[in-house]
């Protein structure tokens, strides 16, 4: 066995230190994703917008309480009702002037009704500040968004990883459960919980909890099925790593991109879901404002007081759009191959 004793001789550059040196700075997966995200202007703007909105909603808890937004002066409904947005500055359309239904000239309801206060976003049909009500509605939308995220992460990811990892009949049963749940219309679930717990944010969140994580669980299961055959998972197995550790160290970090993008898709649909439910009176209870209920309340007056519909709709559209644009940017940032063309 003479051949066994001699080594190959490497011709040319030897295994020197310089040969092995990497001069490129070390970028982690997250740093790299952040670098790519920054290239997408719209996504960055959306990100900062959402950060601002979230911060604003948190801080607003201290100075705009639910009660304040719901309260109205029952003796002066006529004086305060349907006041147009007034910034206090001579900006056309935002100066507190309004063309009354049927009138030819614009009038100034603030001066006519002797209102001292300036309502930046106007008032609704019983004289409540629309600004305050939109802030409360925004908070509810974001609460729904955050709880949808949590449920997606908690139930969806765990369920998906478990189902994909176990495989076999466990997987079959778990997938059939998902199919059964997803065949139940959301509306029925919400109505049932509305009957059980009374309409409100809680029953909406529970309805989302029951149905919202299904697509996340499916996606995560698919990823798990493909990732669990990867060599690094086999390597971890052959080193004796436990299944839980493999899931935490190897599976979830490698599907982080999918998970985040999936969340960004779930959030706007959860927000819309809440708005739709509130609009058809299955959502939050009347004195409480939600973007959906504000829109549906003002709908009948759309021709006379369009701002009462436009303002909450605008906020709703902006949040959803920001989530969608950010989600788009994140998908590109996490999966550069998918967006090369």
């Amino acid at each position: 066995m003479a051949a066994n004793t001699e080594d190959f001789v490497i011709v040319g550059a030897q295994n020197s230190e310089a040969n092995e040196h990497i001069s490129k700075p070390a970028l982690s997966f997250w740093q790299d994703a952040w670098r790519r995200l920054k290239l997408n202007k719209l996504a960055v703007i959306s990100l900062w917008f959402l950060v601002f909105i979230l911060g604003f909603a948190l801080v607003s808890n201290f100075f705009v309480t639910q009660n304040k937004a719901n309260a109205f002066d029952s003796d002066n409904v006529g004086k305060y009702k349907n006041l147009p947005p007034n910034s206090g500055l001579p900006i056309p359309g935002w100066d507190g002037k309004l063309k009354e239904p049927g009138a030819t000239d614009t009038t100034d309801p603030y001066k006519n009704n002797n209102v001292k206060q300036n309502f930046i976003l106007g008032t609704d049909n019983i004289g409540r500040s629309l600004g305050k009500r939109v802030i409360v509605g925004l908070r509810i939308s974001l609460l729904v968004a955050i709880s949808a995220t949590f449920i997606d992460l908690l139930i969806g990811v765990t369920y998906g990883v478990f189902s994909g990892w176990k495989g076999g009949w466990v997987d079959v049963v778990m997938q059939r459960i998902i199919e059964i749940l997803s065949s139940v219309p959301n509306l029925i679930v919400v109505t049932m919980f509305g009957l059980l717990l009374g309409n409100g944010v809680t029953s909406i969140i529970i309805a989302i909890a029951i149905t919202g994580w299904l697509s996340m669980a499916r996606q995560v299961r698919n990823m798990t099925l493909s990732l669990k055959e990867r060599d690094y998972v086999l390597a971890a197995k052959s080193l004796g790593e436990s299944s839980t550790k493999i899931a935490i160290k190897h599976l979830i970090p490698n599907m982080a991109g999918t998970i985040i993008v999936q969340i960004m898709m779930t959030v706007p649909s959860a927000i819309m879901f809440e708005a739709v439910l509130s609009a058809i009176n299955l959502g939050v209870k009347p004195p409480t404002a939600s973007l959906g209920s504000l829109i549906s309340d003002a709908q009948s007056m759309l021709q006379f007081y369009p701002y009462q519909v436009l303002i909450p709709s605008g906020v709703l559209v902006l949040i959803s759009l920001a989530f969608i644009l950010l989600g788009d940017g994140l998908r590109d940032a996490f999966d550069p191959r998918a967006s090369e063309d």
Partner: protein, 311 residues
Amino acid sequence: MTEETPKKLVELNDLQLYFNKGKANEVRAIDHVSFDIYEGEVFGLVGESGSGKTTIGRTILKLYEPNGGTMTFDGEDITKLKGKELSNFRKNAQMIFQDPQASLNGRMKVRDIIAEGIDINHLAKSKDERNAKVQELLDLVGLNKDHATRYPHEFSGGQRQRIGIARALAVDPKFIIADEPISALDVSIQAQVVNLMKELQKKHSLTYLFIAHDLSMVKYISDRIGVMHWGKLLEIGTSDAVYNHPLHPYTKSLLSAIPVPDPEAENLRQHVDYDTTIETDGKERSMIEVNPGHFVLATPEEAEQYKQQQK
């Protein structure tokens, strides 16, 4: 060869593993395979794609459950290992994977990849000790210390494969299954990795099961070679015997497929076709020792025939 009866480290006895057992699409990935690996040797396993080489490697590491037969490691039956004993066994037997890109988790730093085995088996008491061990392993496979904080995608194929080797060595194993460790690398890097593996074998007195489909490379590194086809082991012998005096027609066919690095000789090279009816005619075949230490899967008559052909 001097007969000193070396110690058997791994013994496979009538091992079977069928995928989709009892169904129409049953695959006999390992079909009654028996062989031994002696301590300190390199056992090469060759065969075409899908012949069950990799499956055997993974079954030995208990990544798959065999349907029948027994496996022994260092005198201990490992066929039904569970729990504590299984994790002890895994400290002794490790694997190097084929695709260095796929075998490293891209979200982890090289330090954490290499230290995975150290963490699992609590081999380091403190963070400093862990780092020192990783450092030592990086040195061993010829990588720099500043590589520890980098991510796998920043490395070349050969470097990645060395990280994979360092990971396998972290638990100080006796036995390493190298599952086509060089087939994903280009030729100059293949030499680098094979040399490293040989060097490590000397330093750490390792035993290898070297799985590959490149017969010339297997001959270079192995002491003994086993030839597999369709889940069956067809021939076992010392690498010289198998390479220079092949018995089984399949081995002959495999050897005739090796390109010769000389255009004139290459032009004259005749490929020997392999007639698979020899495996499918349903006759009872067993491993028969035709020459000392050189076994072939055959009926007694065929074995006699093979013997005659040699002369």
